[in-house]
Point group: C2
Chain length 149, copies 2
Amino acid sequence: MNKREDMKQMIERLKQRGVTLTPQRMAVIEFLIKSSNHPCVDTIYQAIKKKYPSISPATVYSTLQLLKEMGEIQELHIRGDRACYDPITWRHHHLLCRSCGRILDVDIDGCPITNNKLIREHRVEEVQAYIYGVCSECLEKERDDKSKS
Amino acid sequence: MNKREDMKQMIERLKQRGVTLTPQRMAVIEFLIKSSNHPCVDTIYQAIKKKYPSISPATVYSTLQLLKEMGEIQELHIRGDRACYDPITWRHHHLLCRSCGRILDVDIDGCPITNNKLIREHRVEEVQAYIYGVCSECLEKERDDKSKS
DNA sequence: ATTCATCTTATAATCACTATTACTTTGTAA
DNA sequence: TTACAAAGTAATAGTGATTATAAGATGAAT
């Protein structure tokens, strides 16, 4: 849960693997680690542009691809239209709240797919589980609104 | 497992809900039910074009959207670049084989996400679980190839 | 047959993402 | 430091799935 520490460690790993840590890449990494929103490319791009007005979307794309290939981030296809990114790489699931539109982390204890290397004779290399519904906060609000009316 | 029966029932449900069953829509439904490949829009379009040369991709798109809204088919985003469709709507998971590229159905027994209405206080309305790996057939081939060499 | 709503088709538009290429930065080695 | 090759960035154009629009076709109801 210590983001500063997580970032330091990620940077250390990348350095040791010979990745050049340019200011642009650092900005992407920093934004990803600090955000808990699972941002999409444009969100990352717009945010970084404030500090680095000359940055190009292509750089954001290429940095994200690099980090993905290095196994440092996860690419989520929970929204049909664009990819979102998650700097947390241990296996967990995601919920897309249809009310507020946020993507939330959902960690599962006894999930059979995420815990096995084989499933029905198939080799499992990666799992993405996307849950669509309504998050606890929005459910709370629903209840409040109902009790008022 | 009786596809003819499945199709009859789907058509009956659609009729009862006032959906006009045009020849084009019927062709999409028929192709979907008969295929066990989780086809994408273009695959469906190309196949139907043989029988209905004048059909437009827009019609395929709109029919799929209609069927999705009616809860008669599932839209899969297991491939990053295009949607695929599954006429089986009871909850099951999918495997994308990185070797042969096929999408296979994987039914799970003791899966906690698919069996609960609530998860960590969030309301679960729909679940899509995408497994990336190698299917059993391709694993078999791998083993055969190894033993030969 | 006329009307009206709905469906289909063709076309253009959108938007995420990729490819290309010229320019800039970085790391390195004298 | 300086020079230089390798790698990274940015601008631009290109691709391809999907959506929007508008004109024509269908089909039921009067």
